[in-house]
Each structure stands twice: as C-alpha cells, then as structure tokens.
Subunit: 317 residues, 2 copies
C-alpha cells in the first residue's frame, strides 16, 4: 500500500505509455505519459518526478518545472544530460545502473565467440556441403582488458572468468580493482593495452575519456587484438581508428556506439570487413527492466533513502 502518491511524468517519444502502465501496475496512481514536448508542457506544472528518454530538457529551466525534484534518465549514459547544462542543480539526476550488465556482456561474448570460433567458416562449409573439421582457438588463457569496472564492466569480468580468461582492468576509481588480475589507472593506458587479446570499452563519456582511444593507443595494442566498444562512440577517435583498421593491425573492431548516431549512411565503417557495426543495441532499455529499476528507486525516494545511480555532475557520470 503506497500512501503518498508523487506526481510522476513519464517521457519517451515511443514508449511512454508502456512505461507508465508498468509503473501503475506497481501501485502508483499519479502517472502521466508524454511523447511530445506539448504533452510534457501540459503535465509539468504539478510533476515532482520525471522518468525520461530524450526529454526536452530546456523545459526544466522554466517556471512550469518548478516542482520537479528528481529526474531519472532511461539509460546508463548521461553525458548528453550533463553537457547541455539545462537541468537545474536542485533537481536530483539519476541514471540506470545494474540493468545492462547481462545484455551487454552477452553481446560482447557473442562477438568474441563468433569471431574466434569462425562461425562464418562453419556456415560456408554447411552451404557447400563440405565436411570441414577445422580446429579453432579457445578463449581459455586469452587476456581480456575491461576499461570501466562499473556494473557493466563487472559483469563482463564475471563471464570472462567462466571462460577461464586472464582479466585485466582499467578504471578511474580503482574501487573495483579487486575484480581483476591486473589493475591499471588512467595514466597507464599504454601499459594496459599492450598485452590484451581483447579490449572492451565500458567507460562513461566525460572530459577525461573523450577520444581516449587514439592512434597511439590503437598502435600500442597487440597485432591481431580485438577492440569492442559498448560505452560511448566518442571514447574512440574514429578518424584514428579508420586507418588502423584499414592497415589490418587489429583483427576486428566491434562497435555498437558511434560519435554520431545513427551512423551516417555513407560512413566507411559500414563496408569494412574487419569492422562489425551494430546499432546501439547491446544494452537495450527494456520496459520491464527500466520500470522495475525506477519503481525500486521511487520507493527509496519516498523513504528518503539514497537513490541508485545517483549522478555526480562534476565527475561526469
């Protein structure tokens, strides 16, 4: 039984009503759904809590938003929300955490195994009715480096352990250094990448991580290593990555995120054989998962407990 009912506004161009339904199912009765700026303007005056995706943040600086106390973003990355400086300081900002680890780590291992086991050769053999018992390699004993050891990175580490891999990690806080065999700090990128068979980026995009993967770092990687980016596109200097991939120095780049999304139709990545392009789908915000996270946070909000995924705007995530 929920006694106090905060006024909640759900904003999402496509999924607003679906989220709202889920939240109402958990006993919250004052839940409005908005898919456009006009609808948002209509409901904002009494709104205390926003669950938002692609929200028109400029509205938050207007008097109609004066009762908003908390903005829960639908997503793990909040670089855009922090960068636009349009969310007043007195509004608490939270992001989704602990929701994408399973999905994103599955995405990572899908491609690691697809490439290592050479599924294309197996498919080709079947098409040609060719009995072809070739020997592929094993992940066991290979070294994976996970840059970013938040909830997503930690889940990749956990699965890498099950595959008997050596696990290295780089993180800014070093709080989770105990998870990995070797931990590196941001001044040790060159040392970190030089022994890796796989480098996975799960870092948030901040001033300190923008274009952190440049030509020098890419060339410091082992020949025939693989790069996987499930963080943010601008972690990588794409202008530097293109010639490195063209040179064949790396075996593969698996990219789910890009400096510009959707990736422009004429981008060279689409047609490169050693670049695997996917459409920012590795960590989908499922209605169910997001709603459960939000409802749990709502209860904490009502009981004045610390919220999950609280954003530190100075830190950048």
């Amino acid at each position: 039984m929920i006694t106090y009912q905060p006024n909640i506004l759900v904003f999402s161009p496509e999924q607003a009503e679906a989220y709202a339904e889920c939240i109402r199912d958990h006993g919250f009765t004052s839940v409005k759904a908005a898919a456009t700026q006009e609808e948002a303007e209509k409901y904002l005056p009494s709104t205390e809590v926003i669950l938002g995706w692609n929200f028109p943040t400029k509205l938050l600086n207007k008097p109609i938003a004066s009762s908003v106390r908390w903005f829960q973003s639908i997503g793990a990355g909040v670089d855009d929300l922090i960068a636009d400086n349009l969310i007043p300081e007195n509004i608490t900002l939270t992001r989704i955490v602990n929701q994408f680890g399973s999905y994103i780590s599955e995405y990572v291992f899908t491609f690691l195994l697809y490439i290592l086991k050479d599924v294309p050769r197996m498919k080709q053999s079947q098409m040609e009715r060719q009995w072809d018992p070739f020997i592929s390699e094993s992940l066991a004993g290979k070294t994976i480096g996970v840059a970013g050891l938040g909830s997503i990175g930690a889940e990749i580490v956990r699965k890498a352990r099950a595959f008997e891999m050596n696990v290295h990690g780089l993180s800014f806080s070093a709080k989770q250094a105990h998870l990995v065999d070797c931990h590196f700090t941001p001044d040790e990128w060159g040392e970190f990448v030089k022994d890796l068979d796989y480098l996975v980026l799960t870092l948030p995009l901040t001033d300190a991580t923008h274009h952190i993967i440049n030509r020098d770092i890419l060339l410091a990687m082992k020949p025939k290593a693989c790069l996987i980016n499930v963080g943010r596109g601008a972690l990588i200097d794409e202008g530097d990555l293109i010639p490195v991939m063209q040179s064949g120095h790396l075996l593969a780049a698996i990219l789910d995120v890009f400096e510009k999304e959707p990736l422009p139709k004429d981008h060279v990545f689409w047609s490169m054989l050693n670049v695997y392009v996917t459409s920012h789908l590795s960590g989908p915000s499922t209605t169910d998962g997001v709603s459960r996270f939000f409802v749990e946070n709502l209860k904490r909000f009502l009981h004045e407990q610390p919220l999950h995924g609280l954003v530190d705007r100075k830190r950048g995530y």
Copy 2:
C-alpha cells in the same frame, strides 16, 4: 628424471609423429610413431603402451600384441572401441577426460548466443547500411538442460551459471546431481525436456542411450526450444529429427555429430535452415592437450596409481 622407460607406440593416421615428439619432450625416450597398419605391426612386438586414434584394433588379438598392457584412446568417446570387442580384457582401456570441456562449452555458447542475439540480422543490417536497434532476448532466466554431467557437461553447467541461466541436468549416475537446480534420471526424459529452452546432449553412446532422442522426446520439448548435440550422432534418431525440424516445432538443431560421419553429401540436414551442421569440431583433440593428458597418465601408470579416464566396458564408457 624417468628411470623406467616403457615402450610406447603412438598410432594416428595423420598426427602420430607430432604426438610422439610431444611425449619425447616430456622425457620419455622409447616412443615409436605409426601411421599405417604395417608400421603398427612392425613396432607392436615390444609395445607396452599404445596412444591410439583409429587404431587397427584387430591387431590387439594377435600374438605380436602380447606385451600391450594399456591402450589410451585419443578421444572422449570409446563406443567404437567397446563395440568391436577386439581389445582383449587384460588390456586396460582409457579415454580422454577433462580435456574437451572448455572447447565444447565454448561451441555451445557460440551458437546459443549467435541464434539468440540474431547475429545474422545484425550482419544483414550492416550490409544494407541500415540503423536497426532491435531488442534481442537474454540468456538470463532461460532454462538449459544438460544431458550427461561428466567433465564436458559440468563445464557447460559452469558457463550457464555465469549467464544466469536455470540449469537442469539428466545423468545416469546422479553423482553430479548437486551441480544442477533440478536433476533427472533416465526414466524421466519426458519430464526433463518439457521445460527446457535448450537441451544439450553430452552423453556417451551406449546401449542405454542409442536413439534416446526420438520423436516422442522431440515433441515433448517446448515449441521453439533448441537442441544441441555435442555427444554422439546416434543419441538422436535422425529419421525422427528430420520431420520434427521440418515442422518447425523446434527453433534450431545444432548438430556437431551424426549417425554417419562425414555427413553424406546428399543428407537433408545440410540444406535445412533451422539445422546448424558442423563437422565434429566442437571438441578438437589438440596435440598439446592430448599429450599432456597422456603424459600425466603415463606417470600414474608407472607409479601404479589409478589412471584418469578408465573405461568400464560393461557400463559402456
């Protein structure tokens, strides 16, 4: 320092000398390599130990083989060696164990993820330069059933745990029942399969398991479940599987082993879209892995300790 040097014969049509070299590298000096029956006949008279793959077993009944005391098979399955009844009872028979778990479990998860995450759709989108952020499912919460809980099955279970799956198991001995959430015995096949999203066969081929997967079991499986066979081809009645796959009852059959290998060129499996044919490659006998296993067993043999992978011919594996 190895003081007593047993006379070892390595037999393999293609890899004999490679195995022999590896074994000599471990300090054993009396190691002969044979690739043909003639060569085997030449070396057999003084041979005490055989490491063999596709060995002409009829030789073992002849007087020239009277000093042979132990036959180590290169491979996990020994159904053929037991069935031919040509290996005298006084020759100890061992098989490879604990060597294929990593490889075979990687093979299993390669295909589970390839299908679940819909890699073909991702590849297609890239080819068409189409931004297509579709939502795929997660292995987390799905149920996998592992039939056979030996070293291979146990490794599949371990990885399934890392993917947060529910894990059911069926085994004959129930010795490893503690590994799984629900354990079933061979009189409970119907109960075992009915709740599974994935059924993985790792059983040895014996009288008790021949054609154990027949029409009734296949139809007892959940619609849109997946069947994976990395055990032996004849665990499945292929004549029953064909119409079930044609009907679309199951989402996919992933088959690495077949009743007849190589799979005949005109077999219908090659051309079925929901059947994934691979060429008995999921658990490769690598020279290095087999040699290490054999050398460890050789030391146990010399110290009269129990051998790893000892075959119980009555049990059938």
